[in-house]
Amino acid sequence: MNLPEWLKVSVPALTPERGVKEPGFIKKNLEEIASLMRWMMDTEESAGRRGLLQTFDPRARILGILFLVVATAVTGNTIGFVSIMIIILLLSYLSSVGITDMVGRVLPSFVFTGVMVLPALLSIVTPGTHILTIMIGTKEIGITYEGLRTAGTLLVRVTMMVSLVALLLLTTRQADLFTGLRGLPVPAFLVTALFMAFRYIFILLRMAEDVNLARRSRTIDHGLLRDTQGWFASRIAFFVERSMKMAEDISMAMCSRGFTGEIKGMDMDGMKRRDYLWLGGTSFVFFIILGLY
C-alpha cells in the first residue's frame, strides 16, 4: 500500500496551546447526556434497596403515589400540606431513600420555581398588605403578605409533588414501572410503545454521545455559528436515518415472533393484603384532603 507522504510524518511535539476552545453548546449537550445516564443508574441502584414502598406490588405503588400526588394538587391549606409532608418524610425514611438522592431530584424544580415566583412577592404583581416596603426613587415597592402566600403555596406544592414522583422513581425499578403500568388500565400497546421509546432513547443517546465526541475531537477553533448549525443539521439527518432503519428492523423482529398488532400479555399475580392496605391508606388521605379543600 502506498501511503501519501504526509501521513507518514508524525507531529514531533505538542504545539503550544493557542486558546483552543470548543463551542459551549457541545460541552453542554455532552454534559446533559452524561448526567441523564448517570441519573438513570443512580435511580436503579436506589430502587434495588429494601424498604417499605419496595415491598408493594408495582401497580399498587403507582396507584397509591398517584392518590398522594392528586391530593397534593388539590389541597389548599396548611393542614393538608403539613400532613402530606409528614407522609413523604415517613415514606422516604421507611423506604431507605437517601436524603441526597431525594434532594438531588427535587432541587432543580425547587430552584426553578423559587426564582420564577420571586416577582410574585412584589406589590406590583400581587397587591395587598405590605410587610416590607422598599423605596425605589419615588416609587414605593413592597413585599406583600398575599404575595408571600401565593409564592409560598406554589413553591411548597411543586416541591412536594416533585418529591412524590421522585419517591416513586427511587423505589421502583424501571422494569417494574412498566410491569405496573401494564397491570393498570392503560392500553397494552401504549405501554409497549412507551417501553420501546424508553429503550431507544438510550440507544440514540449513545449515538448522540459518539457524534458529539467525534465533533469535539475535530474541533480546533471556535466554530462559526453557521458552521455549527450546519453540523447540527447533518446530525439530525443522521438520527432520522438511523432511527428509521432501526424501527424497520424492530418491527420485523416483532412480527417474526408472532406479533400481529395486539400485544398479548400474561396475567399478573393478585395483589396481597398489604397492597390493599396501602391503597386504602393513600386513598383515605386523598379523600380527607379533598374534603378539606
Binding site: R173, T179, D249, M252, A253, R257, G258, M266
Partner: protein
C-alpha cells in the same frame, strides 16, 4: 421421505431501485443445515427476511411447506402456523430484545402465538435452566453483556420451538466461550431434525455446523449451491466472491502471502 420446507423459483428482491437478490432458485428440505455465504451486502440478510415472511419477493415465487408465501396469503391460520414453525435470530440482539425483562422477552413469542400460560411458563423456566439465565430473570435485557444478550435472543426464539431456525451472523461479536456454547447448542438441536439456515461469513461455523453452502456473489446471485466440503475447497470461487482474501503474513523474518480459507494451509507459500 423428507419434507420440503422451502422452494424458491426465480426469486428477486429490490429495495426501490437497488437490487438485493436476483433470480434465486433454492430448495430446502427438512433437517438440512445450510450456510448462506456471501460478502457484506450480497443479500444474505434479505434472503433470510424473505424466508421468514417479513418481506415478499418482488419477482418469482416462494413456497413454504408447499404453500405460496405472499402478503395476502400470510395471514390468519397460515400465519400462526408459519410463525410457530420458523424462528429468526436477528443479527443485532438490541433490535430483537424489546421487552422490559428477560422473562417477558422469553414469554413474548409463545404468548403471541396463543400457547397456554402454564405451558409458556414451563418452557421459559426450562430454557432459562438450560441456558443458565435464571439469575437474569427480572433484569432488563439492555443491561446484559453482549454474550448474555445473544443467549436471551436465541432463547426468545427457542421458546416457540420452531422447526426451522434462521440465523443472521450468529457468531458475530461473541467471545470464544459463548461461541463454543452456541456451536454445541446448534449441534444438539440438529440431532432432532431441526432445519438450520445460517447467514454468515464465519468459515469455522460453516465448516463445523453445516452440510450445504449457498454462495451469493456481489451481484446478488447464487453462484454455487452444494456440499460444504466441496465449496470450501474451491479457493478460486471463494476468492472471487470475496469470502476469503489474500494478505501478507509474517513468520519470523519471512513475509509471504496466503489466503485464509479453511482448507488453505501453509503449503501455498509464494
Amino acid at each position: 421421505m423428507t419434507r420440503e420446507i422451502y422452494r424458491l423459483e426465480g426469486v428477486s428482491y429490490s429495495y426501490g431501485r437497488y437490487p438485493a437478490l436476483r433470480d434465486v432458485d433454492l430448495v430446502v428440505e427438512e433437517g438440512e443445515s445450510i450456510a448462506i455465504l456471501g460478502a457484506n451486502g450480497s443479500g444474505k440478510s434479505t434472503l433470510l427476511k424473505l424466508l421468514d415472511g417479513l418481506i415478499f419477493p418482488t419477482e418469482g415465487t416462494l413456497l413454504a411447506f408447499g404453500r405460496p408465501v405472499t402478503e395476502e396469503n400470510l395471514s390468519g391460520g397460515f400465519l400462526a402456523e408459519f410463525r410457530k414453525r420458523i424462528g429468526f435470530v436477528f443479527h443485532e440482539p438490541d433490535v430483537q430484545l424489546f421487552c422490559p425483562t428477560v422473562f417477558d422477552e422469553l414469554s413474548f413469542g409463545p404468548l403471541q402465538l396463543d400457547l397456554p400460560v402454564e405451558e409458556v411458563k414451563k418452557r421459559v423456566s426450562d430454557l432459562m435452566g438450560m441456558l443458565g439465565l435464571h439469575s437474569l430473570r427480572d433484569r432488563p435485557p439492555y443491561t446484559l453483556s453482549s454474550g448474555e444478550k445473544k443467549k436471551v435472543a436465541l432463547a426468545s426464539v427457542l421458546t416457540v420451538n420452531p422447526d426451522v431456525l434462521l440465523m443472521d451472523e450468529p457468531t458475530n461479536g461473541l467471545d470464544p466461550r459463548t461461541q463454543v456454547w452456541l456451536f454445541e447448542l446448534i449441534e444438539a438441536l440438529r440431532g432432532f431434525n431441526k432445519t438450520f439456515i445460517i447467514a454468515t461469513h464465519d468459515l469455522s461455523l460453516v465448516e463445523d455446523l453445516t452440510d450445504r453452502v449457498v454462495l451469493l456473489d456481489e451481484a446478488h446471485r447464487v453462484v454455487a449451491d452444494g456440499d460444504t466440503v466441496d465449496i470450501l475447497r474451491d479457493k478460486d470461487l471463494l476468492l472471487r466472491t470475496n469470502i476469503i482474501h489474500e494478505h501478507p503474513h509474517r513468520h519470523g523474518d519471512v513475509v509471504h502471502i496466503h489466503s485464509h480459507g479453511p482448507y488453505a494451509g501453509h503449503d501455498e507459500h509464494e
